[in-house]
Symmetry: C2
Subunit: 313 residues, 2 copies
């Protein structure tokens, strides 16, 4: 049995799909704060996926969910980086403390293997790009990034102290069908409200790596198949970047709308804690033999198409 | 007004001494879990030090302590790394959550400058030694190290999101008068119980950097005087190391006891989560013009002498 926390969420539900495709039995633990039952609806009746509604801050629920589990894929978190500016304890609770509860429940239940959805946000404004896993010092600038780094540290300390095996995946921006947040999602909602103009936060020159959710979960599982180390840390991305202004153009192209004016709010970052540029060095991932099926711009275009279909314009 | 959390503790009280010596007004916030009133007794009646008994998990107490404060020196934490093996939420609460409470109280009170006692424990078992601040990836192996890295991340995210100024000091093993834990303290207590033998946890080949508490707090303040960056991270140490077996010899020499047999429990580490070797690269510190007054072995010997005087043999 494999447990996926946040398995009803955006990336979590893609991971559930990939695990089921490989023939595994999956338990999902989700509080449905941003996850949706519809993201798992296609597994209903298959017998492969058990869905448990529960919160990671409820320790009894977490311990109960560990029964019969060999591997935990810890995907649950607050998905909205910007929220930390307004409510400062969201990432502490739903990130750091939730991860502690998962690890402690694993220890108490004898579950020894964890795979964790970390983020390129841990790097903050890295001075060297593309940024390899060996980059330091790591100084996140968002509360979200801080909670991801805190969770990584908890996992590596569990590995070092209690003999667990940990996989830490530092995600680029992950995009795809079922996206519930992020720049492409926001742009489509903005165009739905007003089809004549598209407001872009910042100057549009923000530039990040985008990876499809499908490539993301395939690479996570590939790493777990190939690396037998105790504490395994990988950047997951495509090895290239796409700018926010290019994303705006792609979303407008895919929308089929004509004459949309792109309006920039200005400034190098979209909000306090936004990292203007992230560019992950993914050589370590590629050396495992994994090949992404879509580079950043292709992943963005495919996502724009899928989300326009889901959201409607 | 400068606030020192944990100011009645071992290193905290040395920092209070240094701040008072510079003519500052100091408020100490301490829950006296490991701090002692006697460590600050020499300031009684001077009017320079206000002592507040309060816990960092009590948010109201933390906010009250911020009144009139310009700089927070956040020294409070669980001082015993080994405790994490037994009680897994000590470092989460007294480390990570306590730091969050300090930062949030600063934000709410408009206090913008924080100096933090981090630790070489964040590096875990670094593959490169001496280990510079740019080393990565950072994978702590103790829960204590994880809480220090989590606290660093919270501070850098506060700097990045709310415009605070942060100083992160990664301490080598700090030793000196008033020590309440650690290898020298333990050895003296063991000799007090049985003057014929000294049990050493591990094979004695563990090797770490030792810095005197006086040098530690002087270097903290020196960095704050000289580096005006937003997020400033430094290793604090002496640039050399001392082995545990050498410490055993020094403590026995200073004890004046004859014919003590040193007995090793064996194994490369003293306990689960013990890092066998730490050796900090302190070039960045030395480039600020700071010079340690004592190298590792001298700091260890001075500490052994002072603690034998305090504890009695």
């Amino acid at each position: 049995m494999q447990l996926v926390t946040g398995g009803a969420g955006f990336i979590g539900s893609h991971l559930v799909d990939a695990l089921v495709e490989r023939g595994g039995s999956v338990r999902v633990l989700d509080n449905f704060s941003s996850g949706r039952a519809s993201f798992l609806a296609h597994h209903e009746g298959s017998g492969a996926v058990e869905v448990v509604t529960g919160d990671l801050l409820d320790r009894d629920a977490v311990i109960a969910a560990m029964k019969g589990v060999e591997v935990v894929h810890h995907m649950a978190a607050n998905p909205d980086i910007r929220l930390g500016v307004e409510i400062t304890d969201t990432d502490l609770k739903q990130g750091t403390i939730a991860t502690y509860n998962v690890l402690e429940a694993m220890r108490q239940s004898g579950v020894g293997r964890i795979s964790f959805a970390s983020s390129s946000a841990v790097y903050g404004e890295a001075e060297s790009m593309p940024t390899p896993e060996t980059y330091g010092p790591i100084l996140p600038i968002s509360l979200y990034g801080a909670s991801k780094l805190a969770s990584e540290a908890l996992i590596s300390s569990w590995v070092g102290t209690f003999g667990a095996q940990g996989y830490i995946h530092r995600f680029a921006n992950i995009v795809g069908p079922r996206g519930t947040h992020g720049v492409i999602f926001d742009f489509i909602h903005k165009l739905k409200q007003d089809a004549t103009r598209l407001e872009v936060l910042g100057n549009g020159e923000q530039e990040k790596s985008y990876m499809s959710a499908n490539d993301c979960v395939r690479s996570m599982l590939h790493i777990m198949d190939t690396d037998e180390g105790a504490a395994n840390l990988y950047n997951l991305g495509t090895g290239d970047t796409c700018s926010v202004s290019r994303i705006a153009e792609i979303v407008i192209e895919e929308s089929g709308l004509e004459g949309v004016s792109i309006e920039y709010t200005g400034g190098e970052r979209g909000w306090a804690g936004d990292v203007p540029k992230t560019y992950l060095d993914v050589d370590k991932l590629l050396r495992t033999g994994f090949e992404p099926s879509a580079m950043s711009e292709t992943a963005v275009r495919g996502t724009a198409r899928a989300l326009i279909g889901e959201i409607g314009l």
